[in-house]
Symmetry: C2
Subunit: 419 residues, 2 copies
Amino acid sequence: MAQHNAFYAQSGGVTAVINASACGVIEACRRHPDQIGKVYAGHNGIIGALTEDLIDVSQESDETISALRHTPGGAFGSCRYKLKDIETHRAQYERLIEVFKAHDIRYFFYNGGGDSADTCLKVSQLSEKLGYPLTAIHVPKTVDNDLPITDNSPGFGSVAKYIATSTLEASLDIASMCATSTKVFVLEVMGRHAGWIAAAGALAGNGEGEPPHLVIFPEVHFDRDRVMARVEESVKLYGYCVIVVSEGARYEDGTFLADSGNTDAFGHRQLGGVAPTLAGMVKQDLGYKYHWAVADYLQRAARHLASKTDVDQAYAVGEKAVELAIAGRNAMMPAIKRVSETPYDWRIEAAPLAEVANREKYMPHEFIREDGFGITEACRQYLAPLIQGEDYPPFENGLPKVAHLKKARVERKLPEFTI
Amino acid sequence: MAQHNAFYAQSGGVTAVINASACGVIEACRRHPDQIGKVYAGHNGIIGALTEDLIDVSQESDETISALRHTPGGAFGSCRYKLKDIETHRAQYERLIEVFKAHDIRYFFYNGGGDSADTCLKVSQLSEKLGYPLTAIHVPKTVDNDLPITDNSPGFGSVAKYIATSTLEASLDIASMCATSTKVFVLEVMGRHAGWIAAAGALAGNGEGEPPHLVIFPEVHFDRDRVMARVEESVKLYGYCVIVVSEGARYEDGTFLADSGNTDAFGHRQLGGVAPTLAGMVKQDLGYKYHWAVADYLQRAARHLASKTDVDQAYAVGEKAVELAIAGRNAMMPAIKRVSETPYDWRIEAAPLAEVANREKYMPHEFIREDGFGITEACRQYLAPLIQGEDYPPFENGLPKVAHLKKARVERKLPEFTI
């Protein structure tokens, strides 16, 4: 089999473990020098391919590539950029082929979420439509856990572990102070459309009275009176109330809590933040002293507390992508298959990209407790294995060590292209 | 020497390592059965002593006490309650003595910050004023790092490590997305009066262009134009800008940024949050896409990322407190002495409480960079050793294991007392 080059790019919001997938792809490529020559990474994702801004990964040492496994963020740069359909934006696709041809790229690895799966599928169709032999594989990643087919999405398990741990730790803080200080604590977590991450907060406790006392999902219409009644009940029963709220929490009419149209003294739209909004309601309706936290990017960057299961799976989907590619399996995605629950066991299988693209996986109805404020046992069983195990990065001088890439650029061979 | 009982209480805002000090006190007491009988812990701090709500620590196993070392929060309950002066509130002091007498308590260990040092000093004076033989020792604790005499305050090092690590990790996230997405990230950290924690954020980077690009201290008057100019410069030079801002950031007239008097559409005072306020200014003045995070209690509860130096010191001050007490050194505080900087070495010394109480340690002027937006080399040298080393708690099922105390109550012997 002749040797050709590979292209790898990161797409969309990054995670604590997307670089572990990059590590899996690159190390697997290096194990197949007969089939795969150099790996070129797109600088800032697919934009790097369109603008011929390619990073020559062969210039990076094995040690640097290995260090990607414990480096958060997107080491080659990611982007929010979705290729349009091939019929009306043919020029962009033709440009991709030109760049791939110019650099003898015949393997395309695209590491991202739902939008990227769609892009990858379109690119996979280039082979036939534009007559260029390309094998395109999608490497799954998203903290939102909304990719179909795969049992879970790499990136989610580490956020889940971070949120569950943070909820547990902060709850101990509130519990110890509530007699004379803060009675209500609100932690805002990611998840605009689905409550997967909020659900993970519920892993912090299970027994009667154990925090969190309320989980607020985007899937359950926000009813201020019901929520406040539950907060009051929790404070009366347990002395305090811990709330994990999804950024996507919304009223029955679809309005987001964080976007309730308030304006400040200057007439400017009040800035978002579900946590402060909800905390304000608590103060207004119940008068309790409150504190709130918004984890934001901290939660998806927290490689220091990654789930070992997640890191292993992120690496494995990267590795498997290469195996699929050299086997000529165009338009596929390595998916995680849950083989057994107790003890937890998983393997990677190949899923046709056509079945993945443009489909979102929502929280099953039966994962949300009947009262809407917590998770069911089925949800707990699904989530629990995903946060198992620790995978600490090495530390140096008290801080995590991260990969420092040279990012040597590949010499351009084509005219400029404006996107 | 006769055997008498000891009282231990936690006071004020809790930390990731205050229970490590509790562990130090209790284990040291257990090593001196000839002098110290039982340890009684105040439920909810000094309130437990006043209301005779005492936890019988002798009922807790060695394993449970050992687990306190890696359990965040205040295991016996803490409180925000400051004893008034002895002249006008004599009844409270007399009550304390009654409770101590009733339970043969002759050792008083009070684990807290500046206010608690003051309370402990007053209690230490009871011995003479009310003719009761009591040895009172203050065990230092505060994330604010504002206790005098001691080189640093137990609790601070772990927050510092958490904030430095979180800044580093989130910065990698922003850096990888800034070409097409978020350009400015604002992380709000604790520190109403002093910028110690914000300064710790600066440990995340040092070289030219390394984040954080701006640190905003309470000590430096907030000048919107100057800050925005620096944000713009950073985005132009490096593609993005990471800001660590202290909750105590304020204008020249003393107004807090988070408390600028804005009201929402209902006329309610807009809720605090320096991070969203600052992010809003960035959007308004410069138009950049932003994200913001407020770490709040997460930062002081994050035992999973504690500094080993901090844990060791927190334990050591607890242990030393007991040694001072049995040596009859009334009205003292174990203080951390920096013996050498490279390699870092420290020991615990005894400091007279009279020199500690009612004095705050501010950031030295020479620790803040001349432009007001970063730290000096002297500050870096001071901070660096405090975040050294990791001290991971054991994990079980993906979550940190914490101590679960029985909290068996000591039988009451006195009439009720209303505080």
